[in-house]
């Protein structure tokens, strides 16, 4: 717990977690990103599953949202780090927090696996008469990972093991 205690004792993090307004504002920003970019992730994946946006090519969907998703992801991670670090002692023993971090890692693995064979091959996918299985698998896994992500995020607040 020492490291966790040292982290949350950093002056500006202490000030942050004790501020009446700053903490909820950053948390709201974290959730606003989920709302704004959740829609992009969902629609991109639904397009890969062939369920909607059929008049747009997969290339347009994937590349069109890429800069937005990157910006959104950066804000999400930055605000998330601020939230977790300011209450590091509470988060360190919380199993839901670590499950969420594992899911985050799996999202990275998903990107490593599927970026070269799906998301960077969209023109090939657009030429194919039917959407290949690997694209559908990528989409379904992506959806499952994001659902796990926000579910674990919410459950962090419910763990009662910490007595501080």
């Amino acid at each position: 717990m020492n490291i966790a205690h040292s982290i949350q004792s950093i002056d500006f993090l202490t000030a942050f977690s004790e501020s009446v307004l700053a903490y909820p504002i950053v948390l709201s920003t974290h959730l606003t990103c989920i709302a704004l970019f959740g829609g992009m992730i969902l629609m991109t994946n639904l397009r890969l599953l062939g369920l909607t946006f059929k008049s747009l090519t997969i290339t347009e969907m994937v590349t069109g949202f890429r800069p937005w998703k990157r910006a959104g992801g950066t804000v999400m991670i930055a605000t998330g780090m601020l939230l977790a670090a300011s209450e590091a002692e509470k988060y360190a023993p919380n199993p839901y927090f670590w499950t969420k971090m594992i899911v985050l890692g799996l999202i990275g693995v998903h990107a490593l696996i599927f970026r070269p064979i799906v998301y960077n091959q969209t023109e090939e996918l657009d030429r194919s008469p039917t959407i290949p299985t690997r694209a559908r698998v990528a989409a379904l896994l992506s959806l499952a990972l994001w659902i796990a992500m926000f579910t674990m995020g919410r459950l962090i607040a419910y763990w009662e093991g910490y007595e501080g």
Binding site: Y23, G39, L42, M43, T52, T57, M61, G64, F65, R154
Partner: protein, 149 residues
């Protein structure tokens, strides 16, 4: 009253029911607001430029509607589980007014302008910005309900 008690009992006496309703609420607003935001981003000329806003609205609207139904029902269940706490809250009533405004706006002004063939660019942009502001305010209202009592 009877229904309210039944819902409150279910959410308060089952350990996982309240967090489950919250997760449905979050997942629902992510999809609902996210799909509306796609139309707004298009109206602001920020993405999906190969397609008209009207067409994007047609694609996203069914998902918006389904998601909003989930958000409203899970939200109502959360509210009914502890009505007195929400009614005494300073922020919650504000959130409800903004939500009402956002819903009415979305299905009247926003829908009409998004579906227009050639809307004046300024009109499109103003309508999209108001839409984004309204929905982001609803999200902030939800979080602040939990923080300022």
């Amino acid at each position: 009253m009877l229904l309210q008690n039944a819902i409150a009992d279910a959410l308060n006496n089952t350990e996982w029911a309240f967090p489950l309703a919250e997760c449905i609420h979050i997942g629902g607003f992510a999809v609902g607001i996210g799909s509306i935001a796609l139309v707004d981003f298009r109206m602001l000329n920020l993405g999906l430029r190969h397609e008209t806003a009207a067409r994007i609205l047609r694609y996203t609207e069914p998902w918006t509607l389904i998601a909003l139904v989930f958000v409203l029902f899970s939200g109502a269940a959360l509210f009914l589980s502890q009505t007195n706490i929400y009614l005494m809250n300073l922020i919650f009533p504000l959130k409800m007014y903004v939500l009402l405004a956002a819903l009415i706006y979305n299905f009247t002004v926003h829908r009409k302008v998004a579906a227009m063939e050639n809307p004046p660019p300024v009109l499109s942009k103003v309508v999209a910005i108001v839409s984004l502001l309204l929905w982001v305010s609803v999200v902030f209202g939800g979080i602040f309900t939990g923080f300022l009592e």
